[in-house]
Amino acid sequence: MNYGKRIFLWIVLFWIGSAQVFAEPFVQGGPIGSQTSDGYDALGPVVEQPIEFPHNTHAGRMQINCMYCHTYARRSNVSGIPRLDKCMGCHNLIEGVKDRPRIKKLFEYWENKQPIPWKKVHDLPDFVRFNHERHIQRFYFQEKRPVREVCGYCHGDIASMTTARRVKALSMGWCVSCHQKDHLEKAGSTVTSHGPNDCWLCHK
C-alpha cells in the first residue's frame, strides 16, 4: 500500500469515527424558563409524586439497571411504571429500611392493594407515538452502550435525581435533530445510519 492510499484510508476511518454520535446524555436542555429553538421549555417543572422515589439510591448508588424495574421498555412502546409487587419483591426482604417513611408508605399501598397514583413526567402529546422498544433494542442491545447513557438521551441523568424531572425538550425539532445524526448500526461496526424521517412513523 503506498503512502497516499494509507493517508486516504486514515482520513476515511477518521471520518467514519467522527460520524457517530458523541452523545451528551446528561446535559440539561437549558436553564429553567429557557426555551429550545422550536419554542419548547427546555426544563420541565418539578413534579410532586405520592412517594418521593429516590432514583439516586436505586440507579445511582445501588447501580441497578433501569430496566430491572422499567422492564417493559425493551418489549413495548411504553417503558411502564414498575408493578407494585416488583417493589415488594425486594423491600419485603430489606429489613433495614422498613421503618423509613417512604417505605412505610409503599407498604401501605401494598397492603391496601392500591396502585400508586404516580404523576406522568415525560408525557408526549396524544398525537405522538414514541416507541421505547425500538430505541432500547438499537442502542442498548445492538450498539451495547451503557444503559444510563441510552435512557439518558431522552430522560437525562435520572440516576442523580430523586423523583424524575424532565430535562430535555422532547419537542419534535429535538427528536428530529437526533434522527438526523449518524449512528453506528452495531457495536464494533463501521456502518452507520440515521433515524427514520417519516411523519407517519410517530404520527399515526
Partner: protein, 735 residues
C-alpha cells in the same frame, strides 16, 4: 369585520384559525406535559400483561343472533377492537361491520347508568337498593302473581340466559315467555318445516354449483352472514358457482349476483312454479312428484308466469335450464317471499324446487340435534307479540318484563302496544340504553354491556356440529351502577327459591357450575377447572354433532294470484332490511349511521327508493321530499333514484325514526314500520311486511341526499361502464 368587507382571503384565514382551534380543543393534550396526568402501576398483574401490548380474550358477539366467536383486544384494561375467533366454526376468525361496532355499543355515551323508576315526574334515577326493594315487593317471594299474569317479553334469547329466564317464570308456575322478532322469519321457517321437515336446514353453499335466491340476503342480513360470506367465497372459487337473485329491491346479495331479476313483489311463488313447470317436463325431475303438484304447475307455463311476474319468458327458460345444467343447486327464499298474506304458499313453492331438483342431502341437510335443547335460541314471531298485546289490553297481564326487544318502536301502528302497556301495573325493562319501550316502563334497569357480562349463547344456525359459545367480560364495567342480566334475575330467584339458588353468589358461578355439569356430554377428561378455563380461553365448547337428513313432503299447494295495484295505492311497498341497522336496535351506533348503506351509500337518514324511469314519469328528482301514504299511515322521506328496484315498487330502509334511543338515533329519519298495513300470513298469522301498497305525493320540498357515491351513479350520460339489461342478453349463448 362585517360580512361585506370579509374577502375570500380573510374568510379562509378565519376558517383556518377557528378550524385549528376546534381541532386543538377536540383532541387530547397537544403539548408536552409534566405532572398533569396520572399513570397507575399494576399492583399484582399476571405475567403476560405488558403495558402497551394488547392481549386477546375470547368472547361471543352479541350484536345479532348469529353467535360469532370474537376476540377482544384488551390493552391497559380497556377493550380496543374486536376480531373474529378462529376457533369458532361460525365466524372462523372473521367478523362483520355490525360486530365491529360492538365496541361502540360498549363505550356509547348514552348508556343508561343508574336504575330509573317512574314517579310522578316520569322516570327518575333511583339507587339499586330502591330498585331491589321494588323488585322484591312486586316479584319477591310474597308476590301473588301466577301463570299468565306475569310475562317475560324478549328478543331471541339462548344459552343459560334462556334457562334462567324460564326457571324464573317457573317459580310463578308460568311458561309465559314471549319472543318477539320484528324481522321474524317464522313464515319461511314454517314453510321449510312443511316441505323439508326442518325449520332452518343447513345450506352447503360451497357445494352448490348454482344458487337461486328469492330475496334472501344471505350475505347481508340473513341468518348467519359471516358464515355465509365465508361459504360464498368457497362457492365462488373454481369451478365458479353461479348466483341468480330474484327480488323486488336489490339487496347486498343481489348486488353480488351474476344475474339479478326485479320481480313484482309477491309473485315469487308463481315464478318458482313456472320454473318447476319447465323442469317437470322432464322425467328426470317429475319422477315421484305427486299428481296434485303436477296439476298445479300445469297452469304456470312460461308466458303466463311472465305476465304475472314481469320477468321475461326467456329468462324463465334460462333459469330452468341453468338449474338443469348445474347440479347440485340450492334454492332459498327470503323475507320478500314470505311477507305476503299467502307468504307460506309462496315460500313453500320455492322450497318445492329443492325437492324437485334433488338438493336434499347434497346442498341441504338438517342441523345436528342439540344435546341441550333447553339452550337453543327461542325464535321470535309477530303473532306472539299480538297475542301478548291482546292479553295486556284485556288487563290479564299484571307484570311484564322486557329484555332485548323494543316493540313500541317496531310494532306497526295497528298494534297499539304502547297503549296496552298502560294496562299493565308493573313493567320492568332490562336495557343498556333507554329506548322507546323502556320509556313506557315503570322500572328500568341498567345492564352491563355485552363486553362486560358473562353468558352463553347458542346460534340458530349451527354449521359445524354444535357449539356452545361463551361470553366473558373483556374489561371491568364502565359504570359501577350497571348490572348483569343474569345477576339481576339470579338475585330475585335466590329470594323466591333459596334452596336451589342460594349457593350461587353470582351469575358467573351459576354459569360455571352449569357448564361443568355438562362436561360429560362434551367428552372432556380434564378436571373441572381445566375444562372451564379451556372453555373461556377458546370462547366455546364444541360437540361433534353430525348433520341429520331432511324429509321431502310435497303437500298440495294453492297459489293465489296477487291482487293488482289500484289507482289509490299504485306502488308496492318494500321495507328493506339494512345489514347494519336490522330492526333499528343499532341505530344508536354512529359508526353504523356513518357507514354508507350498501346499495345506495346514503348516511344518517331515511330515504325512499324509486326507479329512475318511474321518477322521470312522475317528474321526481333525487332529494324531492315525498309523502309515502299507505292505508294505515304516512311518512315523509327524500327520494333516491335507484335502478335496482322493480319499477312499480318503492322501498324504504327499516331502522331509523327513533324517538328515544340516545343522541345518535333520536330524530334521524322516519320509521316505516308505522305505515305497514294490517295484512297477515294466512297460515302463520305473521305480519305480511311486503304486502303494503302505497301512494307517493310530492310535497314540493327538496333537500340534498347525503351520500358517499359521487355524481356518476348514472354515468353522466356517458358509457363509462357498459351495461346490458338481462332481457337483451343473448341468453341462448350462455347455456
Amino acid at each position: 369585520m362585517t360580512m361585506s368587507n370579509l374577502d375570500r382571503r380573510d374568510f379562509l384565514k378565519v376558517l383556518g384559525i377557528s378550524g385549528a382551534a376546534a381541532t386543538l380543543a377536540g383532541c387530547g393534550h397537544t403539548s408536552i406535559e409534566s405532572g398533569v396526568e396520572e399513570v397507575m402501576s399494576y399492583v399484582h398483574p399476571q405475567d403476560f400483561v405488558v403495558p402497551g401490548i394488547g392481549v386477546f380474550y375470547a368472547s361471543t358477539c352479541a350484536q345479532c343472533g348469529s353467535g360469532c366467536g370474537i376476540m377482544g383486544k384488551v390493552r391497559e384494561g380497556r377493550v380496543l377492537k374486536l376480531e373474529g375467533n378462529p376457533e369458532s366454526g361460525i365466524s372462523g376468525g372473521k367478523i362483520c361491520g355490525l360486530g365491529q361496532a360492538g365496541v361502540q355499543a360498549h363505550y356509547n355515551p348514552d348508556r343508561l347508568r343508574t336504575p330509573m323508576y317512574k314517579g310522578e315526574g316520569g322516570l327518575t334515577p333511583v339507587s339499586w337498593e330502591t330498585a331491589h326493594q321494588i323488585l322484591e315487593q312486586r316479584l319477591g317471594p310474597n308476590s301473588p302473581l301466577k301463570g299468565e299474569e306475569i310475562a317475560f317479553l324478549t328478543g331471541g334469547v339462548s344459552g343459560h340466559q334462556r334457562v334462567l329466564l324460564e326457571n324464573f317464570l317457573e317459580t310463578f308456575d308460568s311458561t309465559h315467555h314471549v319472543t318477539y322478532d320484528a324481522l321474524s322469519t317464522a313464515t319461511g321457517r314454517a314453510a321449510s318445516k312443511a316441505i323439508l321437515g326442518a325449520e332452518q336446514p343447513l345450506w352447503n353453499i360451497h357445494k352448490a354449483r348454482l344458487i337461486l335466491s328469492f330475496g334472501n340476503d344471505f350475505l347481508g342480513s340473513g341468518v348467519s352472514p359471516v358464515y355465509m360470506a365465508r361459504q360464498y367465497a368457497l362457492f365462488r372459487k373454481a369451478p365458479r358457482g353461479t348466483l341468480i337473485q330474484i327480488e323486488p329491491r336489490m339487496t347486498l346479495t343481489g348486488g353480488n349476483a351474476d344475474r339479478w331479476y326485479p320481480i313484482k313483489p309477491g309473485t315469487e311463488g308463481i315464478l318458482a312454479l313456472g320454473i318447476a313447470h319447465d323442469l317437470l317436463q322432464h322425467e328426470e325431475f317429475s319422477r315421484g312428484v305427486p299428481q296434485e303438484i303436477l296439476d298445479l304447475v300445469k297452469n304456470y307455463d312460461r308466458d303466463a308466469v311472465s305476465d304475472i311476474t314481469g320477468i321475461g319468458s326467456d329468462a324463465v327458460r334460462l333459469i330452468a335450464a341453468q338449474l338443469w345444467n348445474n347440479t347440485p343447486s340450492l334454492v332459498i327464499a327470503g323475507p320478500s317471499v314470505e311477507g305476503h298474506s299467502y307468504g307460506f304458499s309462496n315460500a313453500a313453492a320455492v322450497q318445492l324446487l329443492n325437492v324437485i331438483l334433488g338438493n336434499r342431502g347434497q346442498t341441504m341437510e338438517g342441523q345436528a340435534e342439540h344435546p341441550f335443547p333447553q339452550l337453543t335460541p327461542t325464535l321470535g314471531s309477530y303473532h306472539a307479540l299480538a297475542d301478548l298485546n291482546q292479553k295486556m289490553a284485556a288487563g290479564k297481564t299484571q307484570a311484564l318484563l322486557v329484555y332485548g326487544t323494543n316493540p313500541v318502536f317496531t310494532a306497526p301502528s295497528h298494534l297499539p302496544f304502547a297503549e296496552s302497556l298502560s294496562n299493565v301495573p308493573f313493567k320492568v325493562a332490562f336495557v343498556t340504553h333507554m329506548d322507546e319501550t323502556a320509556g313506557h316502563c315503570d322500572l328500568v334497569l341498567p345492564l352491563l354491556s355485552a363486553l362486560e357480562d358473562f353468558g352463553t349463547h347458542v346460534a340458530e344456525y349451527q354449521p359445524d356440529g354444535v357449539e356452545v359459545m361463551l361470553q366473558q367480560p373483556l374489561m371491568e364495567k364502565l359504570y359501577p351502577e350497571s348490572k348483569g342480566y343474569g345477576d339481576i334475575l339470579l338475585e330475585i330467584l335466590k329470594k323466591r327459591k333459596p334452596e336451589a339458588y342460594a349457593a350461587f353468589p353470582d351469575y358467573y358461578s351459576y354459569l360455571k357450575t352449569a357448564m361443568v355439569k355438562a362436561k360429560p356430554v362434551f367428552k372432556v377428561s380434564d378436571s373441572d377447572d381445566h375444562f372451564w378455563e379451556d372453555a373461556l380461553r377458546n370462547g366455546l365448547v364444541k360437540w361433534d354433532g353430525k348433520p341429520t337428513s331432511l324429509e321431502a313432503r310435497l303437500p298440495a299447494l294453492t297459489m293465489p294470484k296477487p291482487a293488482e295495484l289500484t289507482t289509490d295505492y299504485p306502488f308496492y311497498f318494500v321495507p328493506s332490511i339494512r345489514p347494519d341497522m336490522r330492526d333499528g336496535r343499532h341505530a344508536y351506533l354512529p359508526w353504523l349511521q356513518e357507514s354508507p348503506e350498501t346499495m345506495t351509500t346514503v348516511v344518517w337518514d331515511s330515504w325512499v327508493e324509486i326507479h329512475p324511469k318511474t321518477a322521470e314519469a312522475m317528474q321526481i328528482k333525487e332529494g324531492d321530499i315525498l309523502q309515502i301514504q299507505s292505508a294505515t299511515g304516512s311518512v315523509r322521506a327524500k327520494a333516491y333514484l335507484f335502478p335496482g328496484i322493480q319499477p312499480d315498487t318503492v322501498s324504504m330502509p327499516l331502522g331509523q325514526g327513533h324517538t328515544q334511543l340516545g343522541r345518535f338515533a333520536t330524530g334521524v329519519g322516519v320509521n316505516p314500520y308505522k305505515i305497514l298495513d294490517p295484512i297477515f300470513d294466512d297460515h302463520t298469522g305473521e305480519l305480511a311486511m311486503h304486502a303494503t301498497r302505497v301512494a307517493l305525493r310530492k310535497t314540493g320540498e327538496h333537500q340534498v341526499v347525503v351520500k358517499d357515491e359521487g355524481p356518476t351513479t348514472f354515468q353522466n350520460g356517458q358509457k363509462l361502464v357498459a351495461t346490458l339489461s338481462a332481457d337483451q342478453a343473448k341468453l341462448s349463448k350462455e347455456i
